[in-house]
């Protein structure tokens, strides 16, 4: 009987932890001047890997990311790119230290992300759905 109660308590704890765990509804955002409203997952992955450097009209892509250990960045990598954050870091390191590319611009907070994407032409980034505003364009991922 005690064992059953203990098991029940444990289940309750696990359940409440699961409910407390934040749900990251991540949205891909771009500067309003960006000429598209949707993007394929392959193209998105290539843009965040700093290998696809231009939009369909030839305008440069300016990529903004949060730090590697930021929970939203981790959720974004998993949900939107299906990559582990360390894979992106490896790709950027290779480009940066071999002279064949550049790293994305790192911003410290979601507020910075939102304002940077809003004011930089060709900007691409991501944000929590609850933080969205009209200064940026939402890109749907096909």
């Amino acid at each position: 009987m005690t064992r059953l109660i203990l098991t029940l308590i444990r289940c309750l704890i696990v359940l409440s932890l699961m409910l407390l765990k934040p749900v990251w509804a991540v949205e891909i955002i771009a500067n309003p001047d960006v000429p598209v409203s949707s993007v394929s997952q392959n193209a998105l992955r290539a843009m965040f890997a700093m290998k696809l450097l231009q939009w369909s009209d030839g305008r440069p892509v300016r990529v903004f990311v949060l730090p590697d250990d930021n929970p939203l960045h981790r959720a974004f990598c998993k949900e939107k790119l299906d990559l582990y954050p360390y894979q992106l870091r490896q790709t950027w390191d290779r480009l940066v230290y071999s002279g064949t590319g550049q790293a994305p611009t790192e911003v410290d907070s979601e507020a910075d992300m939102l304002s940077s994407v809003a004011r930089t032409p060709g900007a691409l980034g991501y944000i929590r759905k609850s933080r969205l505003n009209d200064a940026v364009r939402i890109l749907t991922v096909e």
Partner: protein, 397 residues
Amino acid sequence: MKRAIFQLGTLLMLACISTATRAMDNLPDGVQLHGFASQSLISTDHNNFFGQTQDSASLGFTELGANISWRINPKVQMSAQAISRRAGETDNGTPRLDYATLDLTAYADETSRYGLYLGKIKNPYGLYNETRDVAFARPSILLPQSIYFDRLRNFSLASPGISLYSQNRLAVGDLSMQISAVRPNASDEESERTFLGKSQPGSIDSKTSYIGRLLLEPDNSRLKLALTGVQINAQYQPGGGDALQAGVIDFRSWILSAQYNAENWVLTSEYARRRIVETGFGPFFLNGTTYGTSYYVQGAYTLSPRWSVLARYDYSVADDADKDGIKFQSKSGLPAYSRFAQDWTAGVTYNASRSWQLRGEYHHVDGTFWLPYGDNTNPASTARYWNMWLLQAAYRF
């Protein structure tokens, strides 16, 4: 005195780096500055590795580097990197240009990109060559010497030339190709001793050489499969009173690389087969063809966001027809164990922050195939079985 000058130089460079870091926010659009620094402490029970390490500890291994890149537009980028590397007697820290590359994209769309690199270019070789001096981009303090042979690092690192590249996003995964025509640097002491057995009065001049790599990354780059081909041509220029004649070296190598990236672990293996043809050196040299083999198997496991561990087995043999080196010993009088090496490695990494990393590493080695000549000038005083302990602190921005 020399040490004092070096330390002063290091401090100045670090001061420049930190100033640059502070100035980074004010850089013009499209310009980026990055850099790295590492200092290692190395100790061995026998043989010397990057300094006087036997029964002692040496700070003889230091890496410093800084680079600037300017993305002028999506089709043009200019980049250059300077490095200073101290590695015992094999590298004295003299700053040098690591690469200076102009990247011209000829065509790009959503699924492909074609272009060329001009200038001094990092050689596309295996999985780690292009970033082998950056501690953060390596899995361990020392790269597996079987494939990333430090004796031939100048030879394989970067070379002046031209390189064509293509990148295609296919249904099976990303496919990238790069092929370079280069003139590698083979005129240093370690290369000379590797190819010619000992320091000779003349020098090795490279001719046009080729290196190419095909890289396929299925399953969202979780799997990486690469095939590298190398063909290096060089000619010996005899010096005054030289017993050797103007011989020719034809070095060819194939490297197969495979890596699997899971959420918490990475499994990596690379296998190489080399062929060295040496002809025309005259009667006082062992002209002929030698086949050699190298491979390693490596596993890394992430314990937590800060801690990870690594284990590796690394094997190389100079001559497949003389695996235990006995024939070589009877002909040359040099130790048989200098013709092979088996290295069992265990390592631990602590990522203190995004910019700071600490590593510890242990090597148990059977053989001295990749032991630096410069640090071990008398082959008779080397030992077949030896152990090495390393600690490294690394910084990057």
